[in-house]
Structures are given as C-alpha cells and as structure tokens.
Symmetry: C3
Subunit: 236 residues, 3 copies
C-alpha cells in the first residue's frame, strides 16, 4: 500500500483501501473511506501547466501547491476516483468507481454519484441528490436538493458551441431527469418537474410538469406522473 498523504492535511478517522494520494490542506472527517488509486486535491489546469513549464512535476510538488479539499464525515469514495482541489463535499457522500469531480464544486450532504460520472468543475449540488452512472455535468450547472438524475444524462453549458459565453443548466428542487436525457445550456428544469428518458430539453420546463421527446414537450403533470407511479408500484 502506497499512501501519499499530505503532512498539511487534517484527517479524522479515515480508511484507505489501497494506494491513495491526498494533497494540500485537505480536511477529511471521521468515518470516510477512500478507495484504491483515488487522488484527492488534484491541481487545477493552470497550476499543472505552470508546474510543467517550470519543469517540476511530482505529487510532492502538487502537495505544496494544492489548496486541498473539504470532505465531511462518513463519505464513501470508491476506487479510481479523482477529486480536484477546492472542492467542498458534505457528509455521507457515496460514489461509484472512477468518478471525476473537478475544482470549485460544492456538494451538499447525503449525495450519491454513480460510476464514471464526470462533474466538470464549478458545479453546485444540493443535499439528497442522487446522480446515477455516467452522468455528465459541466461547469456553471446548479442541481438543487432532492434531485434525481438518471444514468447517462447529459447536461450542457454551451448554447452555441464553441462559445465564450457559457451558461449552465439549473435543475430545481425535487426534479427528476431521465436516463440519457440531454439538457441544453441555459434551461431551467422547474421544481418537481420530470424529464423523460432520452428527451432533449431546449426550453425551460415549468415546475411540476412532465416532458418527453425531441424537442421535449409537456405530456402531463407531476401529479399524474405520481399517480401512475403509484399504480405501477402496486402491481408488483
């Protein structure tokens, strides 16, 4: 087991599964589990470029430079995940394998993030959010509390790519995003709204509405959806 744990880091009772790298002034609370081959506090692009140009690249140099990560208690971060510096994570996060969380991202309490999901930096995620496998969330997106994002959903931040104005997607409290849905830059998914699997959302979805298709159109209310869901669940 090879551990590179920064001498500047402050660790509670933390469990390391195997080779783990913790960089900079990272603070990791009690009960956390960090999987094999995880890197915590990886330097942002600018820092890395600067180090390369100065000809010194090494985890010990990164360590001097990294501003570290804040991770709350009882987080379970599975193997091969990479968390960049300046990320703040609440209690009880659970991730799959190979998750990437880039810099300046803030994640609330009790969040799940599935295998291969990429959170590409400068994203805000609330409490009790469930993000399934292989989801992509680019910078400037906001995901509020109690949101569910199905596998392979793709949020975007560039309405006229490649543009110098980037604008994320806002997913309001309690909304549900179906598998492999695509949300276009700048749209807001209203509170409790539902986006069907495979939908392409090109304009705002009003609160409490359900949309499906390409482009996504309203087909019913969340209330009707919840009724159908209830009958569906009772059949079992």
């Amino acid at each position: 087991m090879v551990l590179h744990i920064s001498s500047k880091s402050i660790l509670g009772k933390v469990f390391f599964e195997g080779d783990v790298i913790v960089l900079g002034k990272s603070i990791i609370d009690d009960g956390c589990f960090i999987g094999n081959n995880c890197i915590i506090g990886f330097p942002v692009r600018r820092s890395l470029r600067d180090l390369i140009s100065r000809g010194c690249v090494d985890f010990s140099v990164y360590d001097d430079l990294s501003e570290g990560v804040l991770i709350g208690s009882n987080c379970l971060i599975r193997s091969d995940s990479i968390i960049y510096e300046r990320v703040r994570i609440g209690n009880d996060l659970e991730t799959g394998h190979r998750v990437l969380i880039r810099e300046n991202t803030v994640i609330g309490a009790n969040v799940r993030i599935g295998t291969n999901t990429v959170i590409d930096g400068s994203v805000r995620i609330g409490d009790n959010v469930n993000i399934q496998s292989s989801v992509y969330i680019p910078p400037r997106c906001i995901v509020e509390d109690d949101v569910f994002i199905g596998p392979r959903a793709c949020l975007t931040n560039d309405r006229y790519p490649p543009s110098r104005r980037l604008e994320g997607v806002v997913v309001k409290r309690g909304a549900v995003i179906g598998a492999n849905a695509t949300l276009i830059s700048g749209v807001t998914i209203g509170e409790g709204a539902v986006v069907g699997a495979g939908a392409v959302v090109v304009r705002d979805v009003p609160s409490g509405m359900v949309v499906v298709g390409v482009p996504a159109r309203i087909i019913c209310s969340r209330e009707e959806y919840d009724e159908k869901k209830l009958s569906w669940e009772q059949v079992e």
Copy 2:
C-alpha cells in the same frame, strides 16, 4: 508487480499483466488473462459498509469476506476492470479496459464487452453477445444469446424514477440495439428485432421488426433490413 491473489482462490494457468487483486473463493480457469489494475471479487455494498462501520478496510479483509467470482477458460479481461463478487462468467469472454461488472451477474460463453461499459449487477447475459463500448446495463436486465448492443446504448430499469419497483429490459435472442439508443424500463425487444441508433424505445418491439426514432416506431421488418444490409455489404 504487486499481486494480491487470495489463498482461497483456485486458479488454472492464468496470466496476470501487472498489479492484480483476486479476492475470495474465486475460480479462474486455464488460459485467462487479467489486465493491470484489475480487481476480481470486489465486495458488495453491504459488506463494504459493514467493514467500514467496523473500522477494518483492507484487501486482506475483503478477501476473508468475498464470495469470489467464477471465470471460465480463455477469458481476456483488459486493464482497470473491476468484477464484483458472485459474478459467473463463461468461457472466452473478452473485455475492453475499465469494464465494471457488479454482483450477481451471470454471463454466458463467448461474450464481448467494450471499454467503459458498466453492467450494474443482477444482469443475465447469454452466449455470443457483443456489447460495444460505454454501454450501460442496470440490474434486472436480461440479454439473450446472439444479441448485439452498439456503443453507448443505455438500458434502464426505472419507469417512474425514482421508484421502488425496478424492472429491467429484456433483449431477446438475436436482437440488435443501435448506438446511443435508450430502452425504457420494462420493454421487451423481440427476437431478431432491430432498434435504430439514437432511438428511444417506450414500448415492446415485436420479434423481427425494426424500429427507429423518438419514440421508436416500426419502419420495416428484419428481413428487409437484412436485404438492405446485404446490398450495402456488396457495394464495398
């Protein structure tokens, strides 16, 4: 080269490419190749949670606990792949890199699974199945013999997410699923049916039919598809 090979495991003539971890009562037959950084027999969530709560996390502890994996002969599993405990795999599997196969999955003989594909546990896969790169298959899905699944296809198991009734997709013998298609929870893709690339399948597809679009609609029969395919192949 660091090998953590369980003393409880039973290995035929197996080739390890680099650092490999084999846990529990795993049985791996002759002629298998296990790539660098692969983990075979990873513990299920419940076990992992339990170990963390007891404060003991380590591959040697996992080893005591893991129920292992059964892998047939001549399997080629490329680097960075993770196979959970209680998985059974037939002969001649070939995977790309970074494949994840979670617990209680049963895979037949002569199957291919592409790079980054996630088989998220409790999935049944038949013989001679070809699964391309970055496919997602959630629990309770069944993929019968001779099925072809194109890159980035997304199967689902939650019709009204997030629901407590999960129902997978059934892909019947000889069916073809196009690239980046989305199959909604509960649908059956009939024997020999074809789902076009990018389609969103919301209801059952009859045997021998070809569907495309969002929502997917029948456009022709498999027979006509095979005729077009034949002319297409002859042009070359």
Copy 3:
C-alpha cells in the same frame, strides 16, 4: 514511483507524474507530461492474443513487440490514459483523465480530448480539434481541422450492425457537433455545419447548414447561427 520506460524509446525532456509505462520504439518530444498510471504503446489485439497463446504476458514482453507511439512536443496526457501502439500525435495535445486512443490513429497539432473519451482505433483527427468529455469515435472516422465535438457525442461506423462493411463518419473542417448527438455510419457533416445537441444524423449535412432533431433536419444556416451566437454572447 514505478516507471517501465522502454530502453528502445527516445524521450526528450518528458515529465512523468507517477507510475508510467512506455513501450517499444516510442518517441516522445520535449515538454510532454504523462500522468500517473498511463500506458503508452499498448499492444494491439492480435499481438496480445498471440502472446497469451504463447503463455508469455508481461510489460517487458510487450516492450519487445510494441511498435511504439510518436508524440509531439508539449503534450499533456492526464492520468489513467492508455495509448495503443502505432498512434501518431502532433504537438500540444491536451487530454483529460482516462482517455483511450487505440492503434493506427493519427492526431494533428493542438488537439484537446476530454476525460473518458474513447478513440477506438484507425481514426484521423486534424489540427485544432476540440473533443469534449466521454465522446466515442469508432474506427474509420475522419475529423478534419478546427472541428468541435461536444460532450458525449457518439460517432458510429456500422450502418447495419453487426455488419462486415464498416464505414466511418466524416466531419469536415470547422463543423460543430452538439452534446450527445449520434452520427450514423457513412454520413458526412459538411464544412462548417452544425449538429444540434441530441440530434440523430441519418444523412449528409450540407456545408454551412445547421441541423437538429431526430432524424436531424436543417433549421437554418451557419451564418444565422453565428449571428444568434453573437447576440447571445453580447448579452452577458
């Protein structure tokens, strides 16, 4: 730090972040950065199969066999990426983490490739190409200069899967492919054309045209798109 650097390789001033494997007659120019756990010059399938059948599998054996990789100056290849043998890369490539580039691929100068992207071999990519995260590009695709490919876009090469005639997609100079778009085997995306996010392109897109939807249809010209883009950018 474990380095397996082939004695046959020719390296300029190259920076290795951690454990790195460089195989065969690889040539890597000055100023390159190779991330932790990267493998450069991985053997093609045929070679690997042959080695397994002869019962000798090991990075030192790979090294004898690998034809190596050519990498220009100042390339930044982030951790866990794998580049197969017979790949040629120009100057100033920058990749995210876990990128896979398979054999016989040629990449021009000043290209970016995002995290988790798979370039599945025998692909030609021009100069100044920007490929975002989790993109899939299969064999026989051609991506010309100045192209932008949004996150999760999926190119294909099999019009009637599974077929023995594979034909890639051609993306002409200056074209833009939106997030999670699917491009069907054999189509050409014309010079400067734009494919909207989530579109499924089933026929050629003329130069300078913008298409959206499933199947993708022309909605306006690139000129109009650029005007809208300009107003959008000025609002900020």
